[in-house]
Amino acid sequence: MTVHQAISTGTTGEVVMKARDVAKHYGAVKALKGVNFDIHRGQVTTLFGENGAGKSTLMKILSGIVTPTHGEIILDGEPVTFHGANDALARGVSIIHQELALAPNMNVRDNIFMGREIRTARGVNFAEEERVTRELMLELEEDIDPLTPLEELRLGQQQIVEIARALQAKSRILIMDEPTSALSASEVEVLFKVIRDLKAKGVSIVYISHHLEEALEITDHAVVLRDGEMTAYAPRAEIDLEWIVRNMVGENFDLGSPPASEMGAPAFSVENLCVPDPSGHGLVVDHLSLEVKAGEIVCIYGLMGAGRTEMMETAAGRLKSTGGAVKLHGQDISGLSIAERINAGLVLVPEDRQKDGLVQTMTVGQNLSLASIGAFTRGLFTSRKAEAKVVDDSIREVTVKTDGGAAMIGSLSGGNQQKVVIGKMLATQPEVILLDEPSRGIDIGAKAEVFKLLAETAKNRGLAVLYSTSEVGECLSVAHRIIVMHRGRISAEFDHTATKEQIMAASGEAVH
């Protein structure tokens, strides 16, 4: 038995799978607004787009994890409805997630056959499984023993195992979400070689990456998404890096400009900050120093894993640093708890508002007032009147569109939920506000409103604002200064007159 009998029938380049007007709505949020594109046999189609553009939603639809609100998927000329990921897998579509879905405690063979073991009357046929695994590894030209525990393999090799798992299931369409994000340069070379081999065997690949140039090297077609819509679709021959960036970022939608605020003394600074990598070796934040003045807005640009989130969470007191200082008005606050830092005037708006920002079981008002309960507590008890005032003021200040403070938080759209998280922290009357990806997963109109809000608070309240983003267009909006982070360090610093190309180059994203 060879592993790929089923794959290589049909001619290269013919369309195997189509998305027709595919849309996905989550309540009021339109994650995807009607997307059309084709997947060609034996070719790579890359999805480009910023965070929140709808790439992952689209991927989940193609792989059967999510059912589209409307529109259809056409496989081999016939409309199909996938009933879950296993159904899609049975029809030859498999997905490799950014976070690998393998069991580290099991060996390579058992991982490849997990959930679809070769069963006989006397149990699992391990010998046959091992033989097939060897064959797959031979085919992928990777020298991995089938009995090696997965956790002993390097990340690149684990990825190969994941690919082998997809091949074992006779997948004709392989969706890869950011497969290179954790790989070293040499591992990327190996992966690309494997991808080319797969193409030659007639496997179609849907590829997603933030590393634009890397993706251009391997892709045959490019699809660009922005805010849930497909903005461009073209074969590789007709496109270049600039084309992708232009379509990703859009024709300069006005996200505001730096406010003419009066800058005061440095309000917030970190000095030589070091944060260890959770895996135990190396630093995610590596001797980093920066400062933000009162009334100033500073943007941190960097790719995922650049250390932005870790820097901010350390400053806010959630993570422990191994060295360096976090200072508020020149005073070291490293020893304070989160609550003490909030009282001192330093607040963080976390990146993941579902996981870290909102309490889903509470109302809009209770979420808004959560960080400033002390302000409306009279003696032992909270004052309803004083709380209502805090809530109403917040709703007005951050312009949340809601039926009132008593509405459940889940009834709001993503953008309004984000405003609630920001409003909650602003209600504590801070002097420094850190925002980790404040524009993540919200639509362009809400983005503009969030940035306008930041500009106003910096100007009117003299607030020091530090926000991070992985969308280059958002660096050049309200920020007075742009700091680019790469692997835990500051790789460049610009004022607001910088160009997108300069910023992207410094992040290690586009140009080598």
Partner: protein
């Protein structure tokens, strides 16, 4: 992102509203139905006297359930309350018998108020051990309190050598009478145990609705990470709920041993499960963040009035167990109906 809103019920027809009212007030309607059914089946069920007797039974579970509610709101569980109840009763009995101090050659008979305070302190101490294990040493609540279930029960058995302290009445000569007041006396016809329950319920209800601590508890139960980043002292909140649960169990232990005028080391066995059932029937979510005292009280009364009703009409104790189990499963089923539509 599945939590982005089922927006308000579109249309809002009358049927839908009735369904919604029935669903949200289910514990209340269940209680009304239980009272109606048993009143028809038994002539003695529907009387003030019987309601008060049944309520004094409910008081024990009710006290445990209020403590349990706090823990469950925090997203935890406290399996040790039944054992803590038993241990508290034994400690109270031990103190009432007099503490012998061999070096001084005297026997100390603490007054009843001191017995009550010391017993409550013991409950708080047991809860604090649970809380510290869970909040600081990250022991899963289920495991930590399961361990405490055994340890507290074991200590109670060791202290009494498996025997029961009888004769908790005290004597005038020793100045320690009045322990049975808690269990036997009535104020305006209402048993003291029921009054204790009402006071605890009111206080905790007020704490939950109107204090910063209450808000912190709901927030850290709903989303601990978000609460922590909003400056909520999530660890202190966590320890506090287990301490409060221990205190509630100690109070229940005092009331129970006073009602029985005896303190046995096996008192309160499996009561923790009844307490959890009352909280769940009252509409609280075991995942934390949802629930209130009113619901939990209704839940406790549903269980108490149901099982006492079954006794009154002469149904076998085995059937009572089956009925109680069915009610619990039904309640959880309805909970998932109510919260399931909202997503997590």
């Amino acid at each position: 992102m599945a939590d982005i809103s089922t927006s308000k019920p579109a249309g809002g027809g009358v049927n839908m509203n009735i369904g919604k009212i029935l669903l949200e007030g289910r514990a209340f309607f269940a209680l009304v139905a239980i009272i109606i059914v048993f009143s028809i089946l038994s002539p003695v069920y529907f009387s003030v006297g019987n309601f008060l007797i049944m309520s004094s039974h409910v008081a024990i579970f009710g006290l445990l359930a209020i403590g349990m509610l706090l823990v469950i709101l925090n997203g935890g569980i406290d399996l040790s309350v039944g054992s803590t109840l038993g241990l508290s009763g034994v400690i109270a009995g031990y103190l009432m018998q007099g503490v012998e101090i061999p070096s001084a050659g005297i026997i100390l008979y603490p007054p009843v108020w001191a017995v009550v305070v010391l017993t409550i302190c013991l409950g708080a101490f047991v809860g604090a051990i649970n809380g510290v294990l869970i909040a600081f040493f990250k022991v899963p609540a289920f495991v930590a309190t399961l361990g405490m279930l055994y340890v507290a029960r074991g200590v109670a058995l060791l202290m009494t050598n498996g025997l029961t302290y009888n004769n908790l009445g005290g004597s005038d000569a020793l100045g320690n009478t009045g322990f049975d007041w808690l269990g036997f006396n009535r104020i305006g016809g209402v048993p003291i145990g029921v009054i204790v329950l009402a006071i605890v319920a009111l206080v905790i209800g007020l704490v939950l609705a109107r204090t910063a601590f209450g808000r912190w508890l709901y927030a850290s139960g709903g989303n601990e990470r978000a609460a922590e980043l909003s400056g909520v002292p999530t660890r202190s909140v966590k320890i506090s709920v287990y301490v409060l649960s221990g205190i509630c169990a100690a109070i229940a232990g005092l009331v129970l041993s006073s009602q029985l005028t005896s303190a046995g080391p096996t008192a309160g066995t499996t009561y923790e499960l009844t307490a959890i059932a009352a909280v769940v029937i009252g509409g609280a979510a075991l995942t934390g963040g949802r629930g209130n005292v009113r619901g939990t009280m209704l839940g406790a009364f549903v269980i108490g009035f149901l099982s006492d009703g079954l006794v009154i009409i002469g149904v076998s104790a085995y059937w009572q167990t089956v009925f109680t189990g069915a009610v619990i499963v039904l309640a959880v089923l309805l909970n998932s109906l109510q919260y399931g539509s909202k997503g997590r």
